[in-house]
């Protein structure tokens, strides 16, 4: 597992560590002022670190996907009004402004990005991965998605239409990947375990159980 942030500097003006030191000093000063003005509290940052690194993640999204596979009626409600439908699997829709799902199917592959900043469904997927925020992904995925996906290890055959969804408003997108073969006997909880974060962005397929 890489802890390197791929959108972080590669040493254009300052070496990475010097830049990090400068950012640390700057941030500490801003924090002191914000605490002094009563806008933040002293424990807030550490709480965010714990929340972001330990508590949030793609489980919420995986629950939505597994239910969509297991329950055709839910899938229809999801297509019609995803923002409210996700409440049925325990996701608090109050944190989502407006959610849309895009469903992969034979001949159609969906992939999500944000070329203008890095909009991402944090509520369902946790923190965005470094590559999602990188200039490489933001610039290239809208122009040459098939090549970018191939680089990421996902070969999408030429006759499959690739639909890119560039998140340029407050609408957030979740890809419902195709259900892998050989999973008919699995429970919904077991299906949840199969769903990967990358597949819900649309940069991976889901590996059938027993394969790797």
């Amino acid at each position: 597992m890489s802890h390197h942030h791929h959108d972080e500097p590669h040493g254009h003006h300052l070496h990475g560590s010097e830049l990090a030191d400068a950012q640390t000093i700057r941030a500490q000063a801003l924090e002191a002022v914000l605490i002094d003005k009563g806008i933040m509290t002293s424990t807030e940052v550490d709480n965010y670190i714990e929340t972001w690194n330990e508590r949030i993640g793609p489980l919420e999204g995986a629950k939505v996907v597994a239910r969509a596979w297991a329950d055709a009626d839910f899938r229809a409600r999801l297509a019609d009004d995803a923002t409210n439908a996700v409440g049925e699997v325990g996701v608090n829709p109050g944190r989502l402004e407006h959610l849309e799902v895009v469903m992969n199917e034979p001949g159609v592959h969906n992939v999500v990005c944000c070329s203008l900043c890095s909009c991402y469904p944090w509520t369902l997927l946790g923190l965005p991965p470094g590559w999602y925020k990188s200039p490489e992904y933001r610039s290239r995925i809208v122009r040459e998605p098939r090549a970018v996906l191939a680089e990421m290890g996902l070969d999408v055959e030429d006759r499959t239409t690739i639909k890119v969804w560039d998140s340029s408003s407050e609408v957030r997108y979740l890809v419902i990947p195709e259900r892998p073969a050989g999973t008919d006997d699995l429970s919904e909880d077991e299906l949840v375990d199969l769903v990967t974060r990358d597949s819900m962005i649309g940069v991976a397929r889901i590996t059938p159980p027993g394969q790797s």
Binding site: Q28, A32, V33, T43, Y48, W131, M152, I162, D166
Partner: protein
């Protein structure tokens, strides 16, 4: 504005640094501080996400890339503090001098933190608005985008889709208009549409015929087809006055 942030379609950035299902991680305390401070500012009602994005867009492009995602947030926090009169530059500089490398000690009482950070959003006004207005466009309708940037302020019309024809794929509710909100020009809620563009329309005839790109576009960015938005049939769009942009 025409900034480095508008990356869609730019060439030359090279291969992705990708590892499958990499777990995102905040590595440095200052990165979390950038996020925490921005969410605190949003929660306090001192700024909004559109203005935050515009502050990021306004970062010197020679610094935008090297400082990275959280570095951009940190810069936006500092600009917001000065913009919103929370602290002037001298105050921040004085704190830097006072503090050196020592982390700040505070007597402020500890506070229970929500389980999911984005609960801050629950206290913010959000973006959806109920407006009694019929969407101007319907699913399946061909539309064309403004050929030029709407104005020099914050907007959400990427360069790569301007002056192009697409088809309305989904009609969304009315959202606050970022172009107005970022500049303290009111909310002016408008409908948003997912508009589907063929890759050949965006990137030329050699592009992949089995490739579409959908963008979420605010109604003022769109006009019906066939029509020439300029000059005889101007797009009914009221850009944000430049004077207000300069002061934001």
């Amino acid at each position: 504005m025409e900034g480095i942030h508008d990356m869609g379609g730019f060439e030359g950035y090279g291969a992705l640094d990708f590892s499958p299902n990499e777990k995102p991680h905040v590595d440095h305390r200052w990165q979390a501080l950038a996020g925490a401070a921005m969410f605190a500012l949003l929660r306090s009602g001192r700024t909004n996400i559109d203005a935050h994005r515009h502050r990021i867009e306004r970062i010197d492009p020679t610094r935008y890339l090297p400082i990275g995602y959280w570095g951009r947030w940190l810069a936006a926090v500092e600009v917001a503090m000065v913009d919103q009169g929370i602290a002037d530059g001298e105050e921040i500089e004085a704190e830097l001098r006072r503090q050196g490398h020592e982390p700040p000690q505070s007597a402020a009482p500890p506070r229970l933190h929500p389980v999911v950070a984005l609960e801050t959003r629950d206290n913010a006004p959000g973006f959806l608005r109920t407006v009694d207005r019929t969407p101007r466009f319907v699913v399946g309708e061909t539309v064309t985008t403004l050929p030029d940037p709407p104005h020099h302020g914050h907007h959400r019309l990427p360069r790569y889709c301007r002056g192009r024809q697409g088809v309305v794929a989904r009609v969304y509710p009315t959202f606050t208009f970022p172009d107005a909100v970022a500049h303290d020009e009111g909310e002016r809620p408008v409908h948003v549409y997912a508009v589907r563009f063929e890759a050949t329309e965006l990137w030329g005839q050699d592009a992949d015929p089995a490739q579409h790109c959908h963008l979420d576009l605010f109604e003022p960015y769109l006009s019906p087809v066939p029509s020439d938005p300029r000059p005889d049939n101007p797009v009914p769009y009221n850009p944000v006055p430049d004077a207000n942009i300069e002061s934001s």
